[in-house]
Symmetry: none
Subunit: 199 residues, 4 copies
DNA sequence: TATGAATGAGGATTCATTCAT
DNA sequence: AATGAATGAATCCTCATTCAT
């Protein structure tokens, strides 16, 4: 009799082992054997729960995306003012809660790999599009559309740059400093509109 | 006697083949065989000019770094005003001349890989430090030190974010749009200081 | 669940294939592929049961040593008189039972290789020391210590010389002739003591 | 204009480099490149003076054989009495003058390799036959033929055993101790005949 | 004569995947 | 559901040999 409800647990464990392995061993040394060993399973079992290694990697990236989405959803729930909502979005992307060094390392690895793996690339694009569009949606309530689009793009680019830095730094993301830079950018862009520069 | 002076040419060819392979095949599929085939050589010759594959990859990253440095040097030569010099630095990092899609793809791959390869990591840190410190140097002539440091950090983060976007986009870096975002950030930061916001 | 208890069998098969390959192909042409082919397995499986090729070679040498030890132990069990025990030791080292031409070829190859492979060298030294010390132990009961040491050294050297000859000869060790030479040496040395030469 | 008489010098240098490399690197790591580097030449030149690597190895073994032969010839020139001539032969094979640790290591490597290389094997057999036959020739003047043959075989086997030990010992051949063992064997065998054991 | 660049086959080793149990 | 033995292709690297210079 198969144990009921085991599948999601096993999948979750393997995905977490994958993230840990990418962080500690590097993507190149993240083999099926290592992942399964880390998850306390046998190498063969991976192909019970995932079609193949690529499928596991894709599921891992999707999981990372879902985590960010969930954090964002929670934080947005508490904010009504567009400004607060923007801060909430930024805060979600820079929060240390779930965006651990391991997760950041995995993100970066996938980004680098993604160009050549269409399925990974699609997931990435979806995640970034979602960020852009939620920033744009809030900004449009504060700025003319043309500016909103530009500022949204700048802001999300800045967020990605901060992640890149975080991945390279041995200490992970220094949330406070990162927030300072991102919020400063946002405030400046909003202030420019409200307080137009003198002729 | 064999042909003289061939070594730098062969090394250059192999490095270019490496960049091309990372761009088109992805770093994971960039094998010694593929690199040599792309360079029109036999697999064995690679180890005549480089100690091993890692040595070739490191040389490739160094070459990318040297190219950015050279472009920056040339552009800075034409600028005297700190503002112009800052634009020159930004322009160098976003210029399409040598920073081809292939080069950007290679950068990103190295960044992702670098965490686990100390030698690559060292080269990366040196390149980023150089960018930060040249931005800081110019900004200090326009802003108080404390702001200069912060703006330099924000600006270089933004530049890296733009590169990341470029690597993900299938069309490479759209220089004009990227310049707009970066210069806008710089101008805003400088304007804030000169035109302090009313109380 | 995969077959249990297969590991010692597979290891044994691979070790025997190694000995056969050293004998028939020579150590230089004893590749992992040839060994595995000879054992009827795939090349990859070797690294499932041994860390690497050197580990397999070391295990092979250890196995050869263990075989000689076992033969010696059996033969010594039947002898009580020191003279008989010495003959038993000599007989074990020259017996055709397990010391096949293949085994002798392997021994010699390891001796030649050993100088540069510390782990192999250690195993070799242990085997030779054991021979020397068991000869010495028996001889001390028949001769003054100083002579026992010298005769033990001479005898074990003679045994090794006989092995060397065996390895070079295309027909392997001619046990009878070898025994004649070795026993003659032993008898002479013992007789000398008992029947001192006249002044 | 080719330098005259250079060929034998170059050949000699390469052979000596080969012996040194077998001693210090081991036969397995004795590559054409290493040999030529050791001889201060380029890798390609080896094939000017030797057909291929095997040819160089064979020439090396022949040279080692010729050296022993030459030492023996010189020592035999000073001896007339059969006993002295036997001591001279033994002394030649155990002399430290030309039989350096490097030479001994090379001998052993060739012995191990030889089984599978017919040309090497032929040279080896010739060298050993020569030793056997010169020992036999002298012994026949002191012993009945049947004993002379046996003692010659025992003596040459003992000499080879001593070489084997020398090759394994990190300090090379301890000539004095080796001479003691070999001469003792010879004296005993001769004494037995002259002083027949009492009934 | 002599160089060392170049080749390409062959080495050990790793790994995703399959499959009998 | 789960194991881990087994496969075989692919990887990096080494090396004897050739050859243009």
């Amino acid at each position: 009799m198969p144990k009921l409800g085991l599948e999601p647990i096993r999948r979750r464990q393997l995905i977490e082992a994958t993230i840990a392995s990418i962080h500690e061993d590097g993507l190149a040394d993240t083999t099926v054997s290592r992942i399964s060993a880390r998850a306390g399973m046998s190498p063969g079992i991976v192909h019970h729960y995932f079609i193949n290694k690529d499928d596991l990697l894709e599921a891992t990236l999707r999981t990372l995306g879902a985590q960010v989405r969930e954090v964002t959803r929670l934080r947005l729930g508490e904010a009504t003012d567009p400004r607060d909502r923007l801060r909430a979005i930024i805060g979600s992307w820079l929060a240390p809660e779930q965006l651990t060094p391991a997760a950041v390392a995995a993100w970066l690895s996938f980004w680098a790999q993604g160009r050549k793996q269409p399925r990974l690339a699609r997931v990435q694009r979806a995640i970034i599009c979602r960020l852009d569009s939620s920033l744009r949606h809030e900004l449009k309530q504060l700025l003319p559309t043309i500016d909103a689009v530009r500022v949204a793009e700048g802001l999300s680019t800045l967020l990605e740059g901060l992640w890149l830095r975080a991945a390279l730094s041995p200490y992970g993301l220094e949330t406070e400093r990162a927030m300072l830079i991102a919020i400063d950018y946002l405030d400046l862009q909003l202030a420019k509109r409200r307080e137009p520069q003198p002729a």
